[in-house]
Amino acid sequence: MLPLSIKDDEYKPTKYNLLLKLSGWFRSILADKTSRNLFFFLCLNLSFAFVELTYGIWSNSLGLISDSFHMFFDCTALLAGLAASVISRWRSNDSFSYGYVRAEVLAGFVNGLFLIFTAFFIFSEGVERALEPPDVHHERLLPVSVAGLLVNLVGIFAFQHGGHGHSHGEGDHGHSHSLFNGSTSHGHSHGGHHHHDKHADSHSHGGHHHHDKHADWHSHGGHEEPHYNDELQHLPGKGSSKQILQGVLLHIIADTLGSVGVIISALLMQKYDLMIADPICSMLIAILIGVSVVPLLKESIGILMQRTPFSLDHALPECYQRVQQLQGVYNLQEPHFWTLCTDVYIGTLKLLVAPDADTRWILSQTHHIFTQAGVRQLYVQIDTAAM
C-alpha cells in the first residue's frame, strides 16, 4: 500500500555519475575511523608496492618485481576490508532486506581464507626448500624486508589504535547490556501498568485517552530514548570494527612475521651460513599464521552458516524453558537463532499455544524474554493447538 511505495522511492539507489559516486565513497571512507585507517594504510602499502615495482623494473631485478606483486596481493586483503567497511554501511533495499552488514563477516572470512592460502603456499615452499636448500642471495633481501617490516609496523600501530576502538566497542556492548537489564526492571514495574491499559482499551477509543497514553510513554521513554538511538548508531561502526579489523590485523601481523622471519634468516645465513634457517623460519611462520587464523575462520563460518551464536549457546535453553512456563504455551518448535553481524542476533520460533491462551500477552512476554538474552529481532509465530 502507501508506505511500501514511498519506501521504494526513498531507498532505491539513484543514479549518480561516476565522479559523484567516487566522491561519495571517498567521503564515506573518510567518515569512519576504521575505514579511514584502512584507507591510509592501503595507500601506504600501494605506494610502497609501486615504488618497489618501478625500482625492480628499472634495475631489472626479478626478486623485487615478484615481491611487489606479493605486496599487491596483500593489498587485496586490505581492499577487501575497505570495501566491506564501506559496503556494510549501505542501506538496506528491497533485495537486500537485511542491508549489507554481512559484508564484514564475509570480508573477515575472505581475509582468513587468503591467509590460509598464503600459509599453505609458504609451508609447501618451505618444505621444498628444506629438502633442497637453494642458495639465496641475501644481499638484496635485507633492505626490502626491513622496509616492508617498517610499513607493516606502521599498520600494526594504526590498527592497534583501531583495536582500542574495538575494546571501546566492547565496553559499549556491556553498556547496552546493562541498558537491557535496566529496561527489564522497567518492564517489571510496568506489569501493573499494562493491566490498566488493557482495562482502558476495553473502553471506547477515546482520542484523549490515546493522547494520554502517548504522554505517558514519552515521560517513560525520555531517558531511554537517547540510549537506544546511541546504540543504533553504534551498530554498524562497532560491527565494522570487529571482524574486518581482526582479519586485516591478522594479515598485517602475518606479513610482519614474514618480514621478521626473512630478516632473521638472512642474518643467520649471513653470519653462520645456516642455509636450513630460511625454510624452517618460513615453516614456523606458516604454522603460526595458520593457527592464528583458525578462530577467525571458525567464527565467520559459524555466522555464515547461520549457526546459533556462541554467546547465546547457554542462555537459550533457559529462555526456552521460561517461554514454556508461560501460561498457555504447550510447546516450542523450530527455534532458529542466528547472527546477522557482530552482536546482532535474530531469532525465529514457533509456539504452540492453548486455544484459550492470551496470545498477545504470550507474544510480548516471549519478546521480552529473548530481548533480555540479547536477541535483537525476533519473529514469533503463534500457532493455536487444535483441540
Binding site: 532486506s97 537485511y98 554481512r102 592460502f117 491499559d197 526456552y320
Partner: protein, 765 residues
Amino acid sequence: MEEKYSSNVLSGGQLGMVEVPDSRLTRYIVLLVISKVLKALGIFESYDILKVVHIVQFIFILKLGSAVFLLFFQKPFSSGKAISKRQWIKLLKHAVFSCVISLLGFFGLTLCGPLRTLLLFEHSDVVVIALLGTRGAAFFIIAVICLLLFDNDDLMAKMAEHPEGHHDSALTHFLYTVISFLGVADHKGGVVLLVASLCLKVGFHTASRKLSVEIGGAKRLYALDNLVSALVLLPWVIVLSATTESKVESWSSLVLPFGMIIFSVMILEFYVEAICSAKMETPRCARYGALALFFSALLLANFWTHPLTDQLRSMSKPAHYGSTEHVLSGGVLVSAIFFIMSSNILSSPSKKGQKGTLVGYSPEGTPLYNFMGDALQHTSQSLPRFIKDSLKQILEEYDSRQIFYFLCLNLAFTFVELFYGVWTNSLGLISDGFHMLFDCSALVLGLFAALMTRWKATRIFSYGYGRVEILSGFINGLFLMVIAFFVFVESVTRLLDPPNINTDMLTPVSVGGLLVNLVGICAFSHAHSHGGKSCSSHDHGHSHHGHSHSEHSHGGHGHSHGGHGHSHGGHGHGGHGHSHGSGGMNANMRGVFLHVLADTLGSVGVIISTILIRQFGWLIADPICSLFIATLIFLSVIPLLKDACEVLLLRTPPEHEKDLNNALEKIEKIEGVLSYRDPHFWRHSANMIAGTIHLQVMSDVVEQRIIQQVTAILKEAGVNNLSVQVEKEAYFQHMSGLSTGFHEVLAMTQQMESMKYLNDGTCIM
C-alpha cells in the same frame, strides 16, 4: 503474572559437572604422582637392563612376573564367572596384540632412550583421543617435530651404523632394516616407531574395553592377559635361549632390578591408575600423571649418569656403554615443554559436558540433555564401519558420487605420477604431482560439502548444514581466484624474462592430465546441465508417481483429491525446478566444475605452448598462454563468486523476487491484515528459502487463519521455511511496557491508528 516464569530453576545452577573439592583428592594425587615417579625410574632401569638382556626375554620375564603376582592377588580363575572358549580365543588375540605393542614400545626404548620414550609413549588414552579435535594438538605435533628435527642427539648417529652381527634375532634385525630402509637415524626411527605404537596402544585400549566387560573387569583381563602373553612368548624365549648365548653374567644380580621394574611399571602403575580414574575424572588423572611423569623423567635424565646415582643403582653398568648415553639436548627440552603444555591443554576438563543436545524438559522443568553426542558415537564406531557408512552415503547421491569417482581417478593419476617421478628422480614430475594433490583438495572439499549438506539440523545449526554447499563453492571460487592471480603474476615475470623450459617431459604428463580432466569435465558438465534437471525431475517423478498411483487405485473419489494435490504439487515443484534450472544453484558443483575446467585449460595451454616452443622456438608462447588462461579462469569464476556472495549476504533470491513482491501485495489484501513490516526472505541453501515477516492485524480477526493464509501465499512464492508474527494492537502496548524499540513501536502504533481510523471510516460508510 511475573511469577509464572520468575521461578527460575536454572538461575544459579551450572549445567556442568560437579567439581569435587581438591582436598579430598589429594591423597590420590600423591599416590598417582608417586607411582608415576616410580614408573619413570623403572623405565630408566629397564633401559639399562635392555642393553644386556634380549628384548623378547625381557618382555617375557616382565609378563611372567606380573602374571604370577596378579594371579596371586587377583585370583582370576577361582573368582568370577567361567570363561568360554570363544573368550579364550579373543583373549589370545588380545595378548598377542599387547605383546606386539610392548615389543614395539621397548624396542623404541632401546632406540631413543628412556627420556624420549617417556615423553612420547606414556600418554594416556584420553589425551590422544582429545588430540583428534583440539587446539593442543598443534603443541603435540610441534613437540614430535621438535624431537624429530631439532634434537641433534649426535651420539645416536653413531649407533646408526650398527654392526650387522649385533642383532641377535630376526625380529630386531627386521625392525632395524625397516628403519634403515626409511633412511633416518636410529633415534628418529625410534621416535616414529614410538608414535606409531602409541597410536596402536590407544586403539588397542579402546578396542579391548568390550572384552574387559565380557571377561569381567579390567583387572581380571589384565591378569589373564599377562599370563597368556607370557605363555605366547614362552616358545620364542626357549628357542632364543637355546640358539643364542646369553650376555648376562649372572641372572641373580638381575632379580632385584627386574622385581623393581615389574612392580613399578607393570603392577603399581596399573592399580594406581585404575583407582585414580575411578576416584577422579579421567582427564584430570591423566593431567597429573603426565606432569609427574614428565618432570620426573626430565630430572632422572639429568641425574641418571651422575656418579651419585651410580652408587645407588642396583645394577653395575658395563663400562663401555657409558659413552653412548643419551644426552639432554635443547631439542628434547623444548619438546618436553611442548608435551607438558599439550597434555595440560588436552586433558583440561573440557566444556563438552554442556554441549549436549537439548532433548526436552523434565516435568520439574529442568532441561534434559543428550550427551550421546558426536564424540561418543564417533569413538564407539569402528573405523571400517565408519568408512563403509560414509562410502554408502557418498554413493547414494549423484553429485557426491560423481565427485568421488573423479577424485579417485585424480588421486590414482597423481600417485602414478609421484611414483614415477620418485623412481626416475625427476623433480618436475614430483612437483606436478604435488600440484595435482593440491587440486585434489578442492575436490575433497567439494565431496565433504556434498556429504555435509545432508547432515541433519542440530541444536546449534538449527537450519541444517545446507549452507556448506554455498560456502564450499565460495571457497573453491576464491581458491581459483588466488591461483589465477599467481599464474598471472608468474606469467608477467616470465614475460619480462622468458626462462628456458625443457619440453621433453612436459607433453606426456600434460596430455595425461588433460585426459583425466576431460573425463572430469564430461562427468561434471553432465552433472551440471543434468543436475538441475535430474534433481527436479527426480522430485517430479516421485510426486507424480505417487499421485498417479493413488489415482489408479482410488478411482473417482481419489481422482478429485489427486487432481487437487496434483495442481498444488505441480505448482510448487514447478517453481522449485525452475529455481534449480535457472540458477544452477548448486554452488558446490559449480565450484568443482570450474576448478576442473581451469585445470583442463591449464593442460591445454601447456600443450599448445609446448608445441609452439618446439615447432617455432617461441619462448614467449608459454607466458602468453598462461596470461590468457589466468584471465579466462578469472572471468569464469566471477559469476560463481557473485552468486555465492549474494546468498551469503542474505539477498532476497533474485529469481523469486517478483513472486515475492506479488505475494506481499496479496498478503496486504487479506482481510484483516493492516500492514506488514520487516519482510525478510533469503536463500538458505539450494532448496530452502527462509522467510520472516511481521504482520499487523486488526484486533478482531482470528490469528490462526491469517497465519495459514500467509504461509500458503508465501509457500507458493517459493518460501518453505517461514515464520509469521501476527501482532495486534495490544501487543505494542505490551512491548512499550517492556520498552523494546520504543521509537519503532511509537511509529507503528501511529500508523495503526491511522489505519484504524481509515478502516473504521470504511466500516461506517
